[in-house]
Symmetry: D2
Subunit: 257 residues, 4 copies
């Protein structure tokens, strides 16, 4: 990324910018200094259902948002070689949920509590990582969010988000890949969504279209360095909470002035 900045190239960056907060802050500062455009690859924001949810929330149709439940399960764990370098559950996987709940809530997090276990495979414990996790977040307006993850569903990719407001709720999710029910003596059956490339195929296209439009317009509109930093800071908070077995205050990972 440093090379791109030096060359004055605009940067579209897959999440996360970096696995540590310091490098993230340096990259953001470099982008600002270079005056280039930047977009982080939080593709979920460009999924039609999530985009419609955000629009409904912004419109006030749901009233004040009070609670968000966000769940994500991968079909199965990645190989150990990947786990060793990915930064752990919170920086690698939950980071999408951290961005999602913060984006939908439209507020900043204040407190975090994380509870995790290694249940899926002993290698997670060996690496000091967890494969099953619950993260509770209190936002600065006392609204709450809870994120739960697993590295192995055994039933495909499970991505569902529920937003509860004072006037109503939204439930985003998808159990079936194909709109077909199969009925037999055992009951009614559908197929399932395999993984993120299938679930978010359209979102990946849209996020690049938004990015190209941003370059053409000379103005970035997508998730930016501040969003990327906020998500990685939440990962730090979750890790600290788990290590300290305590509620942690997000101000410990505030952005540099």
């Amino acid at each position: 990324m440093a090379a791109a900045e030096e060359a004055g190239k605009h940067v579209f960056c897959e999440k996360p910018i970096a696995l540590d907060l310091e490098a993230t802050d340096r990259a953001i500062a470099a982008v600002a200094k270079a005056g280039i455009l930047f977009q982080i690859g939080f593709q979920r924001r460009f999924d039609p259902a999530y985009a419609k949810a955000k629009a409904l929330i912004t419109s006030g149709a749901l009233g004040t948002i009070e609670h968000i439940r966000d769940t994500m399960r991968d079909p199965g764990p990645p190989p150990r070689a990947y786990l060793e370098v990915c930064g752990g559950l919170y920086r690698d996987m939950t980071i999408h949920n951290f961005d999602c709940v913060r984006w939908l809530m439209g507020r900043e997090p204040r407190e975090v509590f994380a509870m995790g276990s290694s249940l899926v495979d002993p290698m997670f414990a060996e690496l000091g990582d967890v494969d099953t996790s619950i993260v509770s977040i209190r936002f600065d307006n006392d609204a709450l969010a809870v994120i739960d993850n697993s590295r192995r569903s055994n039933f495909g990719y499970d991505v569902r988000t529920e937003v509860f407001g004072s006037k109503g709720a939204l439930l985003i999710g998808q159990h079936a890949d194909t709109p077909m029910l199969r009925l037999d003596a055992e009951g009614t059956h559908t197929d399932h969504v395999y993984f993120f490339l299938e679930r978010f195929a359209g979102a990946y296209i849209t996020e690049l279209q938004v990015w190209i439009a941003a370059i053409q317009a000379g103005k970035a509109e997508g998730p930016d360095g501040r969003d990327a930093r906020a998500a990685i800071a939440l990962a730090y908070a979750a890790e600290a909470s788990r290590a300290e077995r305590a509620l942690v205050d997000c101000s410990r990972w505030s952005a540099p002035a």
Copy 2:
């Protein structure tokens, strides 16, 4: 039933009143003469979903009703001994659909075309009966309805009705008995509704409550002799259409003056 009428007892009668139109007409005349209350057991009218559908239609919320699709499949065929005395598919099974579409449409049928096959079991053909059938009905306002039946679903009881109006539609149906999804490597699964006693458990209770209230009030409000006759007349029309391989006019089975 004759005995009940002579004794002046009110009569709640399971469908059909009789397997032939002449006996049905005689029973209706006897009820009228005896001045007793009468209700026919079209329990589907008392199911919460169907009752709500009828109320929405009557309220005008769907605009003019233009088309109704009504489907019913039994989990498996009844024993041959039952088939020999039940009056055939149209008087025994489709009769519920005949009442349902006429009741929801709120109009009288004008023309009927039936197409049937014996595919499930050779005994249906041996008995001159069909086990798989499509009946098309034109009502007196040119609105249409189509009913399809099978004597064997192999996936539980399948009762679904769709009502299409100029302003919108209703889809009544139920694939799962229990509101529980089961997810595994094969996909997402639900159980199914076993048969009519399970699907219409509440409706059977409500129809009796309505009947008891009718007796207490001295005034019947449920489906009556005229409804029973209209359904059996449609069964006659479907049988004639199948035998004659032709569109038939419902006026051939008009009620006696």
Copy 3:
């Protein structure tokens, strides 16, 4: 198309080849004579749900197919100028269903009965057309199919197909465009699929990929001239049935020897 054939170009043709059977037969003969590849634009065959359904049927997983219910409603009627030249409901709209049920059944139709009405707009009656229709089809193995159509749903594009076999059933359909439920005091709500371009966006891409692969391989694998002719012949049968108010035999529209 004649020009393309003369030039020896392979032909991908949107349905129908022609609005009359004679021109269709001439085109098919010309394609055969020119030795060029041909594919007709029945895109539904390339939709993931329909393709999976066909594969399940072919695999025998559903047992013998006994009945197919196929429904299609457009959100609203096309302009009168289109209706005047489109060939009427059966050649313009139902033709997709004719191909669909014949393809899924894997058998040839033997008898057809059509019942239609003009309920949506008086212009349909003025043009001698119908806007609401039920077509019953008996196949050469006595299996049945029923197709119902409307030129106006008022609730988006409604395309659903149900296949009933001796061992189980498939229900293909899609009520929601986005996998999001919205809950409020009125109940639970989803959006709907707007029209065919949205519903079959992927299928249009896949059918062209299949066509390009066919040209590269020098061998067509998609729906061909025989399929196109069979669908238009069913439209003829439905029109004749409606005009004659009678069951018609499909052999009246057999392909030339």
Copy 4:
């Protein structure tokens, strides 16, 4: 209850036995001493979907249970007079979830963390209570559970439970009261379940049938004093966690020897 025990009457008790743990322990001891039968009113255990879920879990069909998500929202808050005496969110409402997750998990809780807010109505804060809450629980085998509640959904009664095992998952829930979709220009709509009496109508009947059978057999099979105590102890733990803003160890509320 003391009177019943003195009189030697069997006791069916609505949850909770008492609002404090000491009285609960005294009641349990009195029941034991009197040698009478006892059943606590955790009706959810008798709902067909929950009962089927428990049976599937016990059968091993889901493998090892790793995570449970349990959510419950009331349509709207109870009156202040009720809130003043009900014991607060955790003893009054979450107690059902505490029993549910412990029963489905089949393990004992080890650690609890609770995060709550008063967002729905200021009276909750005035009473020192919360109306929106997340409770994370670690069980003695490191499996996790998360419960979230709200005192006001504005969209009916929301009771859904998700169980994730090493081989698959169960999602129990019900958005619609009546199996009817309504489609119009706005989308597809269903009604919703009003409140607990509607959702658990069958469960209330079954729990009493089980209780009557227990009396006849002289042996209680339903949720007992130990279950009642475990649920109230979890409420204590959640309250302490909220007050102390810390993870708490369940052994602080162990049953007396």
